[in-house]
């Protein structure tokens, strides 16, 4: 069975591209546009991995990540943060206990490598 990945980003273009790439690489993909949806979709689909943009309206990616990592039923799901801001990303990653991060503009092969490392 193919692995499930939840991608959450308020930038719809990036969301579409990342979803497309992941599908082409055999993953089942769910998408959301803010932190609130990230939590809801994580509960609903129990994905194998979550890709979370850090800055989003409503509930930000880092807030959502923190909540997910505090939930006993969800905290085992690895999270990769996605961000266009290079400032304090390591602090943010530790704060929400995410496993890894990728800077925009990223090379999608770099993202795939990090996914493989976490869920293979």
């Amino acid at each position: 069975m193919s692995k499930k990945i939840l991608v959450v980003d308020d930038e719809s273009d990036i969301l579409k591209e990342v979803a497309f790439i992941l599908q082409k690489h055999g993953f089942t993909v769910y998408t959301g546009v803010n932190g609130k949806e990230a939590i809801e979709l994580a509960e609903k689909f129990k994905p194998d991995l979550i890709i979370l943009d850090v800055f989003m309206p409503c509930v930000s990616g880092s807030e959502a990540g923190k909540i997910i990592k505090q939930r006993d039923d969800l905290k085992h799901i690895p999270i990769i943060l996605l961000t266009a801001s290079v400032d304090n990303i390591e602090e943010k990653r530790i704060e929400c206990m995410a496993e890894d991060y990728v800077f925009k503009p990223f090379d999608y092969r770099e993202l795939l490598k990090k996914i493989d490392k976490l869920i293979k």
Partner: protein, 367 residues
């Protein structure tokens, strides 16, 4: 009037002329803290005529708490004879607040009487300018960081989209389409580098760059860059040679930043070399490590050499070689190396090639 008296009167006039011409308030106090001499600038600052203040003390004019502070500082100067410089806030008679610096020194006359000679300077304008400068620097730093964030997001979408097509994920493309998309891709990479460089330089310049100083192996860094750059060198039919000194101990430095430094220097060497080789050497020299990147490229003119490490400067190529850099690479390398207490320099002869050297001290930088 006797000749002597006349001379005395003349020199007194001369003396007052001088102290009244000085825009900084000047005062002299005797051992009982009474004002015995005040210039016009002082009268203007306090807003009370000099004649009225002479013979009085701070307690006659200022709130007790403040007068007590002045008094205590005077006493220190009287007792120790050491200069006292103090910055304080001063509200003038119109209610305007000033930042003033008061400098007090001990003077002992021929009879052994002690006096305090004080000079006050109003540094309000200087302080305001410094504050504005700091605000401007902060604003510039916020601006750069917001702009780079806003540029990166669309760039991410463009880069990923182009890669999807180029890699055939969305179906086959023909030779010509691939050719043009490669151009798009190269320019996206160039723009990304520029944004990263501008942000890095700005952070280094404003002292906001965060270094991760840990014990690392410099030869490992060089080997990592070697592996990553190997294919670029082969593309231009150049040789890339390594000569690493295994005696170099591990020492503390920011690993990622030195991958960046060495990558930058090797990248430059490749860009400016069309035939021959690029050699990277590392050597233990006393308490330092010496790394050199030598190429057999076009070299750098004497004129360019002096400006090479300045931001936004790029060495001119005499031939039609394309300029690909951001003009910030070497300025960034220099800043990173300086922050590690090292130094960087270059030797070059046009048409023969260049050698970029840097030295890093082995000392612990974790203090």
């Amino acid at each position: 009037m006797s000749e002597h008296k006349y001379r005395e009167a003349e020199s007194r006039d001369y003396f007052y002329k001088i102290i009244n011409s000085i825009p900084d308030p000047i005062f002299v106090k005797d051992r009982a803290h009474r004002w015995v001499l005040l210039n016009e600038a002082h009268a203007q600052m306090i807003g009370i005529p000099t004649e009225e203040m002479l013979g009085k003390t701070d307690h006659d004019y200022f709130p007790k708490a403040q007068a007590d502070v002045f008094w205590a500082k005077d006493e220190v100067v009287f007792e120790t004879g050491t200069e006292n410089v103090n910055e304080e806030l001063w509200t003038d008679s119109k209610g305007t607040r000033h930042v003033i610096v008061t400098k007090k020194n001990l003077y002992i006359d021929e009879k052994g009487n002690k006096f305090i000679v004080g000079v006050i300077r109003d540094i309000t304008d200087l302080k305001n300018t410094q504050e504005k400068l700091r605000e401007a620097k902060d604003a510039q730093s916020r601006f750069t960081s917001v702009v780079s964030h806003e540029l990166r997001t669309p760039l991410a979408a463009i880069r990923t989209g182009v890669n999807i097509i180029l890699d055939g994920l969305s179906g086959p493309i023909n030779y010509e389409q691939r050719d043009f998309l490669e151009i798009v891709k190269n320019n996206i990479e160039r723009l990304s580098r520029l944004i990263n460089d501008v942000l890095d330089f700005q952070k280094l310049d404003s002292g906001k760059m965060h270094f991760v100083i840990k014990t690392n192996d410099i030869n490992e860094v060089i080997q990592e860059v070697y592996k990553a750059m190997h294919h670029l060198v082969e593309k231009k039919y150049l040789k890339l040679e390594l000569s690493l000194d295994s005696q170099i101990p591990r020492f503390s430095f920011d690993r990622d930043r030195f991958v960046q430094v060495v990558t930058n220097l090797v990248n430059n060497a490749i860009a400016f070399t069309d035939k021959g080789s690029i050699a990277i050497t590392s050597k233990l020299e006393g308490e330092s490590v010496h790394v050199a990147i030598k190429d057999t490229g076009v070299g750098i003119s004497e004129e360019s050499l002096s400006r090479l490490f300045n931001p936004f400067e790029q060495a001119e190529r005499n031939d039609s070689g394309k300029r690909q850099g951001t003009g910030l690479g070497l300025a960034i390398c220099k800043e990173i190396i300086l922050k590690h207490k090292g130094k960087i320099w270059v030797e070059s002869k046009p048409e023969e090639g260049s050698v970029f050297h840097f030295i890093l001290p082995l000392e612990d930088k974790n203090e």
